[in-house]
Symmetry: C2
Subunit: 460 residues, 2 copies
């Protein structure tokens, strides 16, 4: 019997493995697909690769200001796609080699929990075997959601996974259904590589999440308009007719769009179908129910990452993985999601941590906010990246920082400073007086402690 069987080898399973190995647990891994999960193979890592490519292409338009005269250039998505695959393969091989070097048992099949301590591994050839673990972690992640009117067929209507795995040549026209994170990321990449993009979103803005300030959506919307990305809001797809090679898409607002392909980005659902035969509790959306120690209704069976109802982010899965190993070893630790940073990589790099104005209001916290644009940040100017801004949210009375939005260059790194400011109780004054390197993007936090509206520091 293993000490621990981990089902799913994405960022959650990977971190659980590393931590368990350090703690000398005897573990087994069950993974039906490529090691690394969606994050490494189809999401976080490869999308950022392609986004960097797109951003570099955009930058080529500015680099005459660096004294670089281009005679001309072509962009070839297939080349980028294949190089992306090589980069991912190389990172995946590091992971494979690490597991080999640690002599970890890897079972390459689908895991199904068939007893409190029993995991059946179902292989592709139809055979199966049962392995046993004192503890089990379910870390099987999520799968693309779909909507009733659109059935993915890997040809005309594709999922984000089809896009990342197989779409090595981009279509001329593509409809992106859903204006959330994936839609804004893949829509942007495709647009820069030459595809005419239309986005249809049932909400009233891009990135229609409570976590995302309306100001961010507006900023990104402006950029998308400049790029010629067409957006429809408060609309859904009602019907699709195939006419020759073209898809004629009727929208609920009466408009019709003609495209070559439809990319479905309507969210992700927990990958928990047929995960067990023993009655593990799930909610109505299929998320596995866990207590504050991440235990399911079977105390030796834990669930982490996208299969539970916590933020669907790779680093949340890793975070939960570490806590679970501690809990398996007798501690009693619970996750705290209040300082989980998130970032998206679209026409701008966008990040957020803590509370924005709306979230603060919901908790009864009155806020004031400090805004500063990158336009006046010398480093951003040096990098030819003067677009975007920082907005810091402060609790009105104490002027303690409670959250931040960052839009623009370096956003996904800068956000960690804010997490540290919040964690350590920094006020506007503390942030203003912290010593920043000059010139740095980080200095923008200092200036965001001014209230631009009245031209004064908050704390004066």
């Amino acid at each position: 019997m293993f000490d621990l069987v981990i089902i799913g080898m994405g960022p959650g399973g990977y971190e659980a493995t590393l931590t368990a190995l350090r703690k000398k647990l005897n573990i087994a891994i069950v993974e039906k697909d490529k090691l690394g999960g969606n994050c490494l193979n189809r999401a976080c890592i490869p999308t950022k690769y392609l986004r960097n490519a797109a951003h570099q292409i955009e930058k080529l338009r500015k680099i005459a200001d660096y004294g670089i005269e281009l005679e001309g250039y072509r962009v070839d998505y297939r080349e980028a796609f294949e190089a992306k695959n090589r980069a991912v393969a190389s990172l995946r091989n590091s992971l494979i080699n690490l597991l080999k070097s640690k002599k970890v048992s890897v079972y390459k099949g689908r895991g199904k929990i068939v007893g409190r301590h029993k995991v059946e591994v179902l292989y592709q050839d139809g055979s199966s075997e049962v392995i046993e673990g004192k503890n089990i972690i379910i870390a099987t992640g999520s799968v693309p959601s779909s909507v009733d009117s659109l059935i993915p067929d890997s040809m005309d209507v594709i999922t984000t996974e089809d896009f990342m795995d197989n779409l090595s040549t981009l279509p001329e026209n593509m409809l992106v259904v859903g204006g959330g994170v994936a839609g804004c990321e893949l829509g942007y990449i495709s647009s820069i590589f030459g595809t005419k993009i239309t986005i249809v979103e049932k909400g009233d803005r891009l990135l229609p999440s409570r976590l995302i300030s309306k100001e961010i959506s507006k900023h990104l919307q402006k950029k998308f308009s400049q790029l010629g990305i067409k957006t429809y809001f408060r609309a859904v797809v009602e019907n699709v007719d195939k006419e020759g090679e073209k898809l004629k898409v009727s929208l609920s607002n009466g408009d019709t769009v003609e495209v070559d392909k439809i990319l479905l980005t309507v969210g992700r659902s927990p990958n928990t179908r047929e995960i067990d035969s023993i009655g593990i509790d799930k909610d109505e959306r299929g998320f596995i129910k866990v207590n504050s120690y991440l235990q399911t209704n079977f105390e030796n069976i834990y669930a982490i990452g996208d299969v539970i109802n916590s933020p669907m982010l790779a680093h949340v899965a890793s975070y939960e993985a570490k806590l679970v190993i501690h809990n398996i070893l007798g501690e009693k630790v619970s996750p705290d999601y209040s300082l989980v940073p998130w970032a998206i990589f679209s026409g701008y790099e966008i990040s957020h941590v803590g509370l924005n104005e709306e979230e603060a209001k919901e908790r009864g916290i009155e806020t004031v906010s400090g805004y500063y644009p990158f336009l006046y940040n010398e480093k951003a100017v040096d990098e030819l990246e003067p677009e975007g801004y920082v907005r810091l949210y402060f609790e009105k009375e104490s002027l303690r920082v409670v959250g931040a939005d960052v839009v623009g260059v370096g956003a996904s790194e800068l956000i960690h400073q804010i997490a540290l400011f919040i964690k350590n109780g920094y006020t506007a004054k503390d942030i203003h007086e912290f010593i920043y390197f000059h010139p740095s993007l980080s200095e923008i936090f200092r200036y965001a402690t001014y209230d631009l509206a009245v031209g004064k520091l908050f704390y004066d």
Copy 2:
């Protein structure tokens, strides 16, 4: 009589102005040259502009991996130089407009302190006037140092200021005298734009400062070798003969180098000659002596920035400026330089904060260090920037972080996280358990809490 006369409008003078205005002080500024000082006009800002240009040129060699096929390109230093001037002018205009909008009195001449409350302003036309201030801040910065054997003539032997102000066309061959920060920055830029660079340094390595770990120098040396930058160590210039258009330079090691130009980067000296006629105390190197409240031997006369013997960094000058305004208003605050971050921008972005191994040893602190290369950081791979590393220094017993070196992409931003870790007493465990966005460069800190040598976390 003004509340405050500020002599010198670089980053120190600028911050003093902003803070004084907020505190409703009635101020006058005396500046003989362009507003913004060396930092804005000739150093921090424009060098980073050109360095970003150079880095983009280097990146062009890799971007086939982004699916970008260049038909060809030319680099034209003059274009970059002029665009740099435009960017700086635009930032300088913001500054000018700000001062105008605040109706600040600006005296465009050289300031000389001729009485405890009197500053004589000497204009270029020979005229002068005396203005009076209850308080005076000396923030006149520094000027390039020279060495006996080499007299700058703005033609054959140039200073960093000549380079940044006037050298719009690069020579074919250039000798850089001095392998410190300026030499490594300007040598790198020139090399990428096509100049054959030789560096001669009297120390035994590039960046020969106690603050800079030998590991950093070695890393940069390797890069310079790849770029074809030739380096001589433990050598100085002994003689220069002009033969036609060429300069024949004899070095103390017996070697001879033939170049078109010599760039002197042998450090900077405080700009304090003829600063006063009232006997302000200076040390043997010309630095103005100040007490812990940044007061000179006249208690109403303060000195900040490069004129005093504190780290010669723009953000140190701004930091001191703020403290001085507080002191003028009756507080008693002293600078603490322990968490001043620094960064250099050469073949790599390099940064440091706190203590390195050697500095720690000098203070009797025994350290262990955690190293991690960007090669395995997914975001760095996505950015095609897998070179460089992070080294964290921990106090051996407590495993509290005491300092860090960062070499590679994003170094000058990432360093602020370490400053915050140190400031808030983070241990290796705290750094490991902090929640980082995935994928981010910042995650490298988590992995640098492993001791790679034994493959274990420090705190396990």
